[in-house]
Symmetry: C2
Subunit: 248 residues, 2 copies
Amino acid sequence: MTAKTPWKRDCIDCPLLHCEGLRPLDKDQLKFMQGFKQGEFQIEKGTQSLVQGSISPHVYTLLEGVLFRYRILEDGRRQIVNFVFPGDLIGLQGALDDPLLHGCEALTPATLCVFSRDRMVELFAEQPKLGFDLTWLAAKEEAALEEHLVSIGRRTAKERMVFLALFLIERAAATGLDKKGVFPISITQSQISDTLGLSLVHTNRTLQALRKLKLVNWTVNSISIPDVDVAREFSHYEGSGSGVRPYI
Amino acid sequence: MTAKTPWKRDCIDCPLLHCEGLRPLDKDQLKFMQGFKQGEFQIEKGTQSLVQGSISPHVYTLLEGVLFRYRILEDGRRQIVNFVFPGDLIGLQGALDDPLLHGCEALTPATLCVFSRDRMVELFAEQPKLGFDLTWLAAKEEAALEEHLVSIGRRTAKERMVFLALFLIERAAATGLDKKGVFPISITQSQISDTLGLSLVHTNRTLQALRKLKLVNWTVNSISIPDVDVAREFSHYEGSGSGVRPYI
DNA sequence: TCGCCGCGCTACCATTTGACATAGGGCTGA
DNA sequence: TCAGCCCTATGTCAAATGGTAGCGCGGCGA
């Protein structure tokens, strides 16, 4: 937990309130959350915000930035499990008293909103609608993980990579992080390979092949897709039902 | 949806009440669930209970038997996403209005308890504790999917298979489905391969190799593990924090 | 300014995994 | 009783993917 600037901004100034893809909280909910919120903290690009194996008394909502969640085996093999976008909740995965099962690293500078795990029960009791939303979020995350499972288990290397690119761009667009179909973000090839279950070398080759095929342009600091429809068909991407997401 | 015997047993007679690994509902909760429950239906081994792509107005709790959830790509490739044991909830994955993202097939004769999706909000409003449990379940399922992701993405074929065997036996034991460390269940090699992201042939070869190594004995109608500790270490299995699970 | 280090890239070769073909056993229904 | 089907098992060969090593570039700190 690399905390910085543990300061507390009012919920009325929450950047998520004006995020297009998110359904804003109503007055009552805002008021409740104001009391529920414990603070914020900011992390720099590349820092670990949650550490696998530690016992954390907190749950977080990502306010700004992009992170990824991963798991590591004792011998160092790493699997990136999913990416975290503004509005997503972190730390709810797994049972509530168990040590954290995954780590979390920042791809960009990021801000997190901190909640107490112990007080979660209050939230369900006093704001059933928010409790419902929490379940909704968990269910949605589950669906995303299933997609990735299908990808790694049954898609070829090229398909996986195109699929991932589509997935990332779509989520970026839904949170207003893209610019005209280009998602400006720095993901190393090593991170890509750990997401897709490929070796580093093979990731590199596949990446280049996709550039040549004009399917995906994945460079050091951005992702773009020349023709989304072609890419969709190529990777058997089915879209994500999208619509607005709740948060907090 | 292959319904049979759409009849309704009282919640007081719910078989889950006496399932060792599950935390039983209290009187008040039982009473509420009694009104919430819409009925039961039974399915035979091998039948599809949920169909991918259909829009289902229901959510289910598995009362008896074992199922698996899967996704299929248009070209027929199938990925089994997880296994379902008594007490698990089905149908909450994914957003609530979207078409079902996965199918569900029975490995044994099974009984499902039916709830209305629309009335879920009531549950959160009137029984916050149950709402909380629902989130807990979703979070736990998420954790399981992450495990499988790591498996498929970063473990070798042998490790994956040992891991899966451990996982299944552990869950079976937690719901009283095993017999002295042997889990009597019929899973075809084709189903195993679709779970692990391997080809059928390779699955067969790996299975035999594990038998020779005395790591896992996976036969046509049962799974057993000669030495659990050895298997754990071999597959880098970390156990699942277990403890009692809530349900409904 | 120089050297170090992380990252992308390439080449060569090893290993894992997949595809296709085929055979046998057991179950089921005509 | 026999054909047909599903499942397990085996062999051979091909393709996909991984491992190791080495090069070059650019950022960064001494």
